[in-house]
Structures are given as structure tokens and as C-alpha cells.
Symmetry: C2
Subunit: 356 residues, 2 copies
Amino acid sequence: MTVRALDDLETPAVVVDLPTVRANIERFQMHADGAGLAARPHIKTHKLPQIARLQIEAGAVGITCQKVSEAEAMVDGLPTVGDVMITYNVIGRAKVARLASLAQRVRLSVVADNETVVAGLSEGFAGAPEPLRVLVECDTGGQRCGVPSPEAACDLAIAIGNAPALVFDGLMTYPAAGGAERAADFLRAAKSRIEAAGIPVPRVTSGGSPDIWTAATHGIVTEYRPGTYVYNDRSLVARGVAGLDDCALTVLATVVSVPTANRAIIDAGSKVLTSDLLGLTGHGAVLGRPDLTIDQLSEEHGRIVSSGNIGLKVGDRIRIVPNHACVVTNMVDAVHVVLESGQVERWPVAARGKVI
Amino acid sequence: MTVRALDDLETPAVVVDLPTVRANIERFQMHADGAGLAARPHIKTHKLPQIARLQIEAGAVGITCQKVSEAEAMVDGLPTVGDVMITYNVIGRAKVARLASLAQRVRLSVVADNETVVAGLSEGFAGAPEPLRVLVECDTGGQRCGVPSPEAACDLAIAIGNAPALVFDGLMTYPAAGGAERAADFLRAAKSRIEAAGIPVPRVTSGGSPDIWTAATHGIVTEYRPGTYVYNDRSLVARGVAGLDDCALTVLATVVSVPTANRAIIDAGSKVLTSDLLGLTGHGAVLGRPDLTIDQLSEEHGRIVSSGNIGLKVGDRIRIVPNHACVVTNMVDAVHVVLESGQVERWPVAARGKVI
């Protein structure tokens, strides 16, 4: 469905500016090429096969997904994607069976940080036409998933190598923001140890948009997996990683009430903007109005306050750069994409809500 | 689709215990009946026609919705619902046209807190078979939408009464938690003033689950609109409004990693539990394990920590009472409903994502 212009959209609406998306993709790809890093963008930000296609066309070696159902939706929408990594411990027979089906359609890799996951993958891939590629997830400072030490990484690499139907494919980490150096030290030590055990380490993959412009091989990393860079958001602007002009995703909202001289209410609440703060104050940046603060969200209302006169009237439309772009695309069935021509298309968010 | 048992569900899954839902509905209906209040539950919590039906069958006079598309989804799923109030300033010709269609199918009422909204409604209902019922939304302390004073409420009631195709239907407020007395004072003053102007005030409607058990007419309120009470959640447990046993909605999650002795990672993150804190610390209550804290969410990971040994292993399943039930049902395409028989049915969340 093509509509004429943004003015025709009912609000709230999530709007994506395609020229900005293209520019963001090109800029990162150039950085990755210059740094000697393979690019493997995480699709969690856009959840759209159409944008994954742009990333691949620009030079990405493949895509990253977080859950099995998310990967299925992307491969359904872009059967030519070719190479998919799922950076998650996949657990349970039903999910591993889905993984095995997916492995018939693309070059698939997954991660593991423990032997229970390795055993489940090995069992599920028994009889598969080719072994499943499994990387060891390393906790290099993020304190989420990951083996805690280079020694543990080596032990798990050996376990993967010994497990039927699996093949060790390298090391994966999601470093803490600013933790690239520390991550590199961990990964270097793990790789040395694994190679000393006679096991090759085909790739070493790291990620994170906050450190995107300083992403480097550090003599060890071979691949980088940024997500948010494709749209950018207020959190990346606050970190100095992008400017507001680089933010491709905005929320279009309508002022529905101006109850007092310094307060206005919009029709976008936490069901569009989400409650994610990412360390910021307020729930988004109102474009063209740096004096305004979105100080409170309920599900369907956003409250905007100003220290002076709010300068908005009922029926006005505003555009908001959200704190966190990735979670906003998960709230809506479709985004409205502004093409180079200025026309607006409605694109269903194919991988929305794919948490399984 | 009926599945055998919870053990068969892939995780993360949102689970609703139907006997607890029935008990919560009955208990509130009894309270409302005893207090002389008409019950008009807000469906934003469950978003399910099936549960709206239970609320109506128990004695509710109708339902409350927040957005036009939400009301459409409910009426599509429960054409016999009869009476729907949309507690929102509806703005724009397209939306008002949808309202006019909806008014052909149910007894419809909406609210307004400003003359721009009143003018738009009046224009959109010109030529409608019967006038649209419009209540004046009053800001009785919540500082969101609402006219700021009883005088302003009276002025807007008069404007509604004078507007072609509209009829004034009463006063509506969503009071601040604990603000029922203050709200009653405002509403009483507004009603007196409006009646003194020769305009009848057919109803006065208030709401909010936090104050559900002290909800009373205060000699002025005629109708109450609770939402969360149907499921309850950790925020209401923290306020002493419900016990954990009264919480009908839980998130079933699987432990995917136990990287250290005092940390475990589950497969439910902010894409299921959401980042809503509602003033609480942590992101949900793990049933049976009050010693655990869900201290951090990323989109697909929840991090659980313990001051002692975490006592969980990879593959274990846990059930979590989320901080805020309403927003969780907006994250998933379906909930899994445990019937009285113990069987589990998959119910699509008909009004999920209806933000227009």
C-alpha cells in the first residue's frame, strides 16, 4: 500500500526514512571494510527482510538474529540471505528441530556457553546432512551470557569439536560498552589456547553499535555485528555515535490535549515508545523542540512538559526520536517507510514479536 | 489449538490462569455491587473478547477501551458487548469516521477535555442516526489529560450540549493513586455547577485498580473502570491490593545459561516482560523463589541474581509475575490460557498493538 504523504498517516505511526537508512548502512560498511572487519548486522533493530537485503547488498557477509523464530521470519522474507547466525543458547527439542530445518535453507551458525546446550544441539543435529556450526559465547565484561574465562572457552570448544554433528566455528562476544580492549584480551587468550589444543578458530565475532566507529580487529576480531546503527536513536545520539540527522526512525504523534500552558499530551505512550530509558532522562527527543521533555508515559499517552510555554496546540503533529529504536519496531505491526521519492510505503514488521 | 500441558509450551510464553481470572472478576463485581458502583472494566489489561465476555456475564455494564482500533477489535470479537466507552480524546477525521461506524454497532461513548476535540466529534457525527455521548474528562490530580477545574468542566459540558450531533453524558476521571477523595471533591463541584446550568449529568465515572477495594461512590461516582484487577501483577501485590496467588498472568521462561554461581539468564527479556518498573526494583517476581532478583533485561535475556547460590540449572523453567500485566499482553500474539480442566488453550490477543 502506498500512501501519498506523512500527513495521511493515522497516528501514532513509526516512520522510517529510507535514504537515511541507506546512508547509515553505507557508512558502517565503509568503516568495516576499512577496518578489515566482516559486517554481520543484527536484524533485531529493523526486523525487516527488505532492510536486511540492503545490508547484504552493501557487503554484509550475513545477518545476526537473536531467536530461532526471528531467523525463520527473516529467511522466509529473504530466502537469498544465505548466512544467518543466531547469537543465543538454543534450548529444547522443539527449538533445535526448527534450527535443523533452518540449516537446510541457509548457512547457519549458533552459539553456546554451556555443555547442556551443546548436548542438545548435538542430539538434534544427529543425522543432519552437515554438522551445525557452533561458536563459544564469551563473557568479556557484559556479565550476561558467556563462558567466564579463556580456559572455559577452550574447554567448551573442545566439547563442541567432540560432539557428534557439531563443528566448532569460533568465538563470539557482546562486549560491555567501551569494553572492546578488554574483550580483545579475552578473545586473544582464548584463541591461543584453543589453537594450542590443535583446533582452528575460523572466526571471532564482536558487536555493539555504541562502539561502532572505533570497532577494529584488535588483531583478533574478524567480524562485527551492530544492530542499532541502521536507524540510530536518542541513546546513540547521547553517546555521540550519531547525530539527530542520522536517526532514520521517528515516531509521528498527534497532540491530543494541552491541559495547561506548560503541558501537552500526545497519542504515543509506552505501547509505541516503550519504557526503555537506556540511562537517559525522558522518553525521546521531540524533533525541532529541544526545549521539550517527554517526562511521563502511560500506555497510550505521552506527557510533554516545558519550563516555559509549551507552544503546541491540539491537533499538532510532532516527530520523536525514541530512546531505543530496536524495541519500538517490536511494538507495531508495520512501519511507514519514506522512500527517496518522498512517497510512503507501509512495510509489515515481519520479525516483530518473534521471541521463541 | 489445545495443547496438553504447560510443559509442552515453547518459552517464553505468557500464561493466564482462567480460574484465577474468574475469581478476580467475581470479587470485584461483588465489591462494586456492594458499593453501588456500576462496573465498566478496562480491557487494556487482557485485550481479549473472551475475558470481556466473562466480565459482562458477571455484571459489568460495558467495557472501557483506550483507542478506537482497540474498541473495534473488541466489538469484532464480541459483537454482543453492547456498551463501549473510549476514554480518549479522539482526533482527526479518519478516526472520528471509524467512531461513527462503531456507533452503529454498540452503545458508544467517548470523552473530551477540549473544544477542538468536541468540534471534530460534532463534525464527524453530523448526519449520524443518533448523537454521540461525550463525557468531560477531568484532571482531578493525575496531571495527564483533563480539564483543570470544575468551572472548565461546566464550560465544556455546555459546549458539548450545544454542539450538533453530540450529547453530554457525564464526567470521567482517572484519579492519581490514592486520590479518590480529592477526585470526588472535584467531581461533586463540577456536577453541581453543570446541573445548576440546567444540564443533567447522567454518570460520573472513575477508575484505577490500585484503589479498587476502597472504590466507593463518595456520594458522586456512579461507575468504576478497573483494568489490572483481572490479572493483577507485582505492582498491585507491592501495594497490598492483591496477593501473588491472585495473579492470573505469569511469564513462563527457561534458564538458558548459568554463567556463575549466583547468576542465571532466562529467555524472557524486555520483549516479553517490558521495561516497566512502576516504581519497583527488579523486573518481576520469580514464583517460589523470593530470594531471586531479575536485575537486568535486554531484549531477549533476563538476568537473575541471588546473594547466595542461584540454585537453577540450564533447562529449568520458572514462572514470573511481571511488574505490569497490561503491557505484557501487548507483547505477544497469543496468551496460553489454563482452563479449569488443566488443559491449555492458545488465545490470540485480539486487541494487541491497537494504538490507533
